[in-house]
Each structure stands twice: as structure tokens, then as C-alpha cells.
Symmetry: none
Subunit: 161 residues, 2 copies
DNA sequence: GGCGATTTAGCCAGCAATAGTCTAAAAAAA
DNA sequence: TTTTTTTAGACTATTGCTGGCTAAATCGCC
């Protein structure tokens, strides 16, 4: 469990936990982990927010208060080969509404999204739903679409009815 | 009957009682339940006020004095008028991820969203999917959820199937 | 019926246990 | 040297739980 920086070591440890778990999900407590690495709790938050992002294929949920926890899930990628190519070509750092809707329609044609899902997601990335100025808006839209695609590619995502 | 915290265990127990009852109504006594879980009675009140809210689809009535009781009822939320009511209440200018997810779950329980739709929309409003700083992020999320709800309530929106 | 005692539940303040956010300094990289 | 990454620490937000006090309904006695 070597690593150049503390953040690296914490990252490796969490990844090791993930590999050791059967379902690719680990649940931990921030304070506890901080104690294990003898650092401040916010260091854990730092590692999570920089290394366990959606883009890198992780989902992080948490709860504060008594009995609080942090849950980290590896997002298993499924039909990767089928999707990755054109998803990547369509999804850069910026994504216009037109391109996003086109993407959703294609996902529909591929049978990966129902008509309802298409409509709901289109509503969510519509420019009127995103109170952000261009060009930032297209950036936000790109991130949302990435999160959607990742969710869609999860192994445990229910298949379309 | 697992549960991380005492509140979780009490919540699960009440939900189990509700499922066991034919009509979705249970009646209990605060003191009695507190004794069963070895806690102060106000802990029961706490659980009821945080987990059995109208937003989550529960109605809690009670009466004090001798023979007093607490009645918990699962309320089906079919009428669109009422849907509009609490959606408006729940959706202010700002919307936290927690509140948004709760909303999506409720919509799911009401049969207005499929499990897939819930997951996709949850991904879209996840804080990791919204590269915007707080408090702006909660504002963006509120707008997205509004757009989604509006879409859901359109007359020409396809019904779930 | 009236009225005090009893038996409930409600409310609130406060402490405990968590995690999140922000800032600045140190360290590393460019 | 300048910029980016890492780290610590102070402050904030949220959730869980207890205990004391309040309010309401019922009971029992007159």
C-alpha cells in the first residue's frame, strides 16, 4: 500500500476495499478512515472529490449525523464497446442542447431509452431548465449527460421494459 | 429488522407493521413502543416527524390522554391536484440533493416514475453531475426538477408502462 | 355536571455524532 | 518562479437522541 502522497495511499486503500467487496460497494466512516491514516477528516473528503468522481466511474453517497456514513460504489460498465465510441465522439467538454437531444434520440433508437425516459431527460437538459449562462451551460449539460450515460451503462441498471 | 441507528430500527418496525396490516393503518402507543426499543418516548415522536411525513406518503394522527394513541396511515396520492400541491411545496428556489432524491422516490412509489426513470433522473441531479458551486447548484437542481415535474404533468406525456 | 388526578402525546432546547465546505499554508510540479 | 495539488484546521450543516416541561383527553369521585 505504497503511494507518493497521503491522498494516493488513501485512494489505494479505498480501491483495495472496493476490490475486496463482492458487490463493488464499500461503506465507511470519514472519521474512522481519517484516524487510520492519521489525518484530518476533510482529507478524506478531498480524496473522494478528486479521485472518486463520476468521470472516473465512481458514485459517492453519504449521510451526516449520528450513524452517518460514506458509501462508495464502483460503477460497473456494461455495453462499453457498443457505446463508448460514439458516446465519446458526441460528448466533449461542452454539449449543446441540440447535440444532447440528438444523443437521447439515438439512445432511444438503440432501444436503450424508452420514449418517456427520453422526454424526461430532454426536459432536464433543456436550456430553460438550466439557469446558467453560456458557455458554462453547455459544460453543465455535458456533465449531466455523462452521468446519465454512466448510469445507463451500469451492469445493475434495469433493462428496458 | 436491521438498522444502523435506533431511529432506523423503529422506522423499519413501523413499516413492517404497516405492511402486515390489511388496510395500511396501524395504531400504537408512544410509551409502549418506546419501551419496546428502550428509549425515551420523544424518540418515537422524532422518528414519526422525520420519516413518516406527508412528503413520504404517510399521515400521522394522534390523541393524548387515557387510551391515547398514534395512528399511522399510508396515504395513496393519486389526485393530480394534490400532487401539484406538495410538489410546489417541496420545490422552492433551492433544492438539495437529498430533498430531490426523496421527491423522486416518492414519485416512484406513487407509480409515476419507473425505477429506471428514478435512477436516471437521480443521476442527472446528483451533485457530482452538476459542476456548479453551492449555493447556485441547489438553484440549478431546483430548476431541473421543476422542468421534470412539468414534463411529467403534461397531458400528452405517455403513461407509465 | 364539575373538578382535580391521571394518563397519555407534543414541543423544544440542547448535547452528541456525523459529514460538508471554505480558506490558507505547505509541498510538489511545471 | 508560477501554478497546481495536497494538507490541516476552523467553522457549518445535518441527523440522532434525551429529558424536562406543556397540553390535551380521560377517569373517578363528589
Amino acid at each position: 500500500m505504497e503511494g507518493k502522497t497521503l491522498a494516493d495511499r488513501i485512494e489505494n486503500y479505498i480501491k483495495w476495499l472496493l476490490k475486496s467487496s463482492a458487490d463493488g460497494i464499500v461503506e465507511l466512516q470519514r472519521q474512522e478512515l481519517a484516524e487510520r491514516f492519521t489525518c484530518v477528516p476533510s482529507q478524506i473528503s478531498y480524496v473522494l472529490s478528486t479521485r472518486f468522481t463520476i468521470e472516473r466511474g465512481y458514485l459517492v453517497e453519504s449521510r451526516r449525523g449520528g450513524g452517518g456514513y460514506i458509501r462508495i460504489a464502483r460503477v460497473p460498465l456494461n455495453a462499453e464497446e457498443r457505446l463508448k465510441g460514439w458516446v465519446h465522439e458526441a460528448l466533449g467538454e461542452y454539449l449543446s442542447q441540440e447535440a444532447a437531444v440528438e444523443l437521447l434520440e439515438r439512445l432511444g433508437e438503440e432501444g436503450l431509452l424508452t420514449r418517456r425516459e427520453q422526454l424526461l431527460l430532454a426536459a432536464a437538459i433543456n436550456r430553460q431548465a438550466l439557469p446558467v449562462e453560456l458557455p458554462r451551460r453547455d459544460q453543465v449539460r455535458a456533465c449531466i449527460m455523462k452521468a446519465i450515460i454512466l448510469t445507463l451503462m451500469r451492469d445493475d441498471f434495469p433493462s428496458a421494459g
